[in-house]
Amino acid sequence: MRQLVNPKTFGKPSIGLALMGCTNRPFYHICVFPDRSLGRRHEGNIVEQLGTFDPLPNVRNEKLVSMNIGRLKYWIGVREAHISVPVLELLGLSGLFPVHPKTYIRARDARQSLAEQVAALKTIGNEGEAEKDSETTS
């Protein structure tokens, strides 16, 4: 008799973020989904949950992420799962994977925009001081 396969786990699984939560409050679970050819990804199709990601920062300005490293290694190493880009970025930030190229680009852009904002604020400050000086002299 030929080997019967569980359609949920057969094929190349993919690790991705599953959006849960409600209106104006997203929350992601890092889950393993089965092969795309078996149907599109939805809540009922999850094979295993490997972690969570909260995109909204908390009181201390932290975005909390949790990961089951042992199971991640299994799915990535033994089962050769495809990993989505957001999950790769998170793994890079965690240290298990190298930092994703996209993270570098985003960080550089953020640094540049921050520098520009600081420069803009400084120029406004300088203009304000110059006006005050001119007023005092006059």
Binding site: R40, G44, K73, L88, I105
Partner: protein, 250 residues
């Protein structure tokens, strides 16, 4: 049904065209929500894609040329790193499995533990069952003896009761010999009149009775005005037997 009857009656009386109220349908509603299985995700394949999706053209965001160049070599190195990491993880897990720390080893250990626990539990259950059997047997024997004793007591009671009743009945039968019936009524009346019983006497310690007044079969002279315990001697003739009683008492 009542609604339909009312509508029919109305129409018949008024003569208007028949207006039927909407009847509840007996077959199951055809909404997908009432099925037990959850519906398949996404649109059914027969439906065409929505107009928004049909002519969607993805325009990638513009990126700076230096970023693009950087990303080229970064992507290559990253992908190579990921491939090697997959091998590393695989080797790690295989080493764990070989050392006996993997999931299958854990499952085997847990299965062994479970089997051992089940055997122990079975033993314990059997012991308890034997204990329970012995206890139940004792209780049964005890209850049986109690019941038998109760039955014996009740039987003895009934026997005694029967004996007492038989003696009673025999006594009554004997007494019934002396009963007054219509046949021996005249005889009995004559007897009673001939032997009047009078309790109006006093008695001393020797058992000698002194009736006052003396009992008479037939009333002589006028009967006393007073009858009863507190007999007043002043209301009657003086006693004729007074000296005799005095002599007997002395």
């Amino acid at each position: 049904m009542a609604l339909v009857n009312r509508c029919l009656s109305l129409s018949s009386t008024s003569g208007l065209p028949l207006l039927r109220a909407p009847l509840p349908s007996l077959n199951v509603l055809s909404s997908r929500n009432l099925g037990r299985r959850p519906p398949k995700p996404g649109k059914p394949p027969i439906l065409p894609p929505s107009k928004k999706v049909l002519y969607k053209v993805v325009h990638p965001e513009w990126m700076k040329p230096e970023d693009v160049k950087e990303l080229l070599w970064r992507r290559h190195t990253y992908n190579n790193a990921v491939v090697s990491l997959r091998h590393v993880f695989k080797a790690e897990i295989e080493a764990k499995e070989a050392a006996g720390l993997g999931i299958e080893a854990l499952k085997a250990r847990e299965k062994e533990e479970l089997d051992a626990l089940l055997v122990e539990n079975e033993k314990h259950n059997q012991q308890k069952a034997q204990q329970r059997e012995a206890e139940e047997k004792d209780a049964y024997e005890k209850l049986k003896t109690e019941f038998l004793e109760d039955i014996e007591k009740r039987l003895a009671k009934e026997e005694q009761n029967a004996k007492e009743r038989t003696t009673e009945v025999l006594q009554l039968i004997e007494e019934s010999q002396n009963f007054v019936t219509k046949d021996n009524l005249d005889v009995k009346l004559k007897e009673a009149l001939d032997n009047p019983i009078v309790f109006d006497y006093c008695i001393d310690l020797n058992g000698q009775k002194f009736p006052d007044p003396l009992p008479l079969k037939y009333v002589e002279g006028t009967p006393t005005r007073q009858k009863g315990r507190a007999f007043d001697r002043s209301l009657v003739q003086p006693r004729k037997n007074a000296p005799k009683e005095a002599a007997s008492s002395a």
